[in-house]
């Protein structure tokens, strides 16, 4: 589905920002928030996998949405970032997966707390969304469910 948010790649420097709502790198936002204050649209941030989630924690209320970037779909650090945002820092707003976001990882992403997915542009996003339903239950607790099957009267 189309939406109004536009992702600003790279470090943001010397870029002409589109007049839409934008998602900028967290590091850039920290560096020069003044530029962004004048921006006509809404401003959200995204973290790269090596960004420290704890730095964002005190600022969660400042953003209309937070995105986490998968530079490669195989970069598993992002899953830990997502769970920490949800479970440790109790972030309740929209958590969006951006970057290389593919069908076969969506189920895990959802379990780790993502609730919005910007599917890679060259993929069929409608088909991809069915990846969310690959499994109808799970063994372990995660951001989506602290009462997995085996805690609900089975194992734990």
């Amino acid at each position: 589905m189309e939406d109004q948010w536009q992702l600003i790649a790279g470090d943001g420097h010397d870029q002409r920002l589109p007049a839409t709502d934008i998602i900028v790198p967290f590091a850039w936002w920290r560096e020069q928030p003044a530029v962004l204050e004048e921006h006509p649209g809404k401003v959200a941030v995204y973290l790269n996998p090596d960004d420290e989630v704890a730095l964002l924690a005190p600022l969660l209320a400042d953003f209309p949405m937070i995105a986490l970037n998968f530079p490669q779909f195989k970069d598993g650090r992002v899953y830990s970032q997502a769970r920490m945002l949800r479970e440790r820092y109790h972030y309740k707003g929209e958590l969006r997966a951006v970057g290389e976001v593919l069908r076969d990882q969506l189920f895990y992403m959802q379990r780790c707390g993502f609730d919005a997915f910007q599917i890679s542009a060259d993929k069929d996003s409608r088909g991809a969304i069915s990846g969310l339903d690959d499994f109808s239950l799970a063994y372990q607790a995660a951001a989506d469910d602290s009462l997995p099957v085996y805690r609900a009267g089975r194992l734990l």
């Binding site: 779909f73 195989k74 970069d75 598993g76 650090r77 899953y79 830990s80 769970r83 479970e87 440790r88 593919l102 076969d104 990882q105 189920f107 895990y108 992403m109 379990r111 780790c112 690959d134 499994f135 109808s136 239950l137 799970a138 063994y139 372990q140 607790a141 995660a142 602290s146 009462l147 997995p148 099957v149 085996y150 805690r151 089975r154 194992l155 734990l156």
Partner: protein, 561 residues
Amino acid sequence: MYRYDEYDQQIVDERVAQFRDQTRRFLAGELSEDEFRPLRLMNGLYLQRHAPMLRVAIPYGLLSAGQLRMLAEVADKYDKGYAHFSTRQNIQYNWPRLESVPDLLADLATVQMHAIQTSGNCIRNVTSDHFAGIAADEIEDPRPYCEIIRQWSTLHPEFSYLPRKFKIAVSGAENDRAAVQVHDIGLYLVRDDGGAVGFKVIVGGGLGRTPYIGTCIRPFLEKQHLLSYLEAILRIYNRFGRRDNIYKARLKILLNAMGAERFAEQVEAEWQCIRDSALRLEPAAIERMRSHFTMPDYAADAAADRTCDQAIAESKDFSNWYQRNVKPHKVSGYRAVYLSLKHPAIAPGDATSEQMRMIADLAEQYSLGEIRVTHDQNLLLAHVRQADLYPLWQVLKQQGLATANIGLLTDMICCPGLDYCSLANAGSIPIAKQINQRFDDLDYLHDIGEIQIKMSGCMNACGHHHVGHIGILGVNKKGEEFYQLTLGGSANQQASLGERLGPAIAREKVAETIADILQVYVEQREAEEPFLATYQRIGMAPFKARVYAAGAGTAREAAIR
């Protein structure tokens, strides 16, 4: 043993359906090779030299007779009628076609088996002591904890794209038979000063190019914290493990770079945040899992039998086999019986479908319908009445499964090597054959006694060569195969890495070089001293001197300098 309930079955069935669709999309060109690779690896499927290789999980090495029959059927239906038991208690097929793998997995699911996480950069099949539940030196049965770990780690949403593969082993005994200290996480069940049982946690062990014995970061962890502590370790590893170089991506490298103390502090800090979460194991939950692994009903009169002693007295063959392949059981009148998969004419760890079916029948007849896979690539019938030993031996003999060599020189660990594996630099099965031909005198092997030869066809070390009493590593120099020998490795509770003997040995000289090494041992050993103890006492020098002596019998001139 553990039996699936409806949830376990549903998860495995849904994974089959998911993989079927992933395979379909790959074959239809909707998934690129790069996108499909981690998905198929996480389901145990390699695409390599001759055909795909599929690794099927045997959780902590435990199989029912029905499961083993299905493994035989799979070997016939999708492969060439045989399969290979691996050093991590799994089984590998070397010839299934990619298109048929979803059907193969669906067949396995009917007997509660799967290939989930047998490869890939995720938490692999948890391994354990093949004497679990029957060993006299056991503090507590490790299998309930293995199953708890299996369930927690299966399709873990956060830890399925780790920097590299991740292996966990659990032992509940004083003697380590599971190579615990060469795993990413090794767990020993131990008793604290007050008598409570918990876990000693060892991390950062591993073989491969950069071998490490693990480091203890927590001498005692209460059972209820098992999963939260594992999750803390995994999260630190997932966040900070290197992803820029696959050879530096294992936990052992992170541990070494950070220092064990700092790593332990980070784990501790992470653990404090999650220790009282949903991961806490309540005592009732542990008891419930333990109820899946209760002691079977053993016959009270089993020890009254006299036929076994009689057969030992009457048959030297039987007596030899009994001495080597039959081990004590904590219940009087019962024994554990090794089925040697190290017949001289067979690649170590291989079994035919006919053998598997026969073993399944024997397990039902003699061992409560259960079979165990050992990490040194043999099988074990764990509950045999002593009165049944003689008739069992007679059948095993016919099947080529009674080679009386358990723990001896020819009970080698061996990876598939160049013959099957695309990673290998050199053959390992032909070297096993060469060693078998050179050492075909069983009396000599008995005289040499306990010795472990472990062999890998490349530095990835699937054959655990670093921890062999004699380790053999295949290397390729300018298109020729050479073999690097190490001495003094061990994977038991006093784990150690072998030291290099010297320059690599030419292919055709490997067995002769081992003969030289054994000659030094025979000359220098004291009383009943096993090889490893002699090596530890006298050191490398005498072995080195003999093997590389100028003009010695074997052609050292062929060795590369």
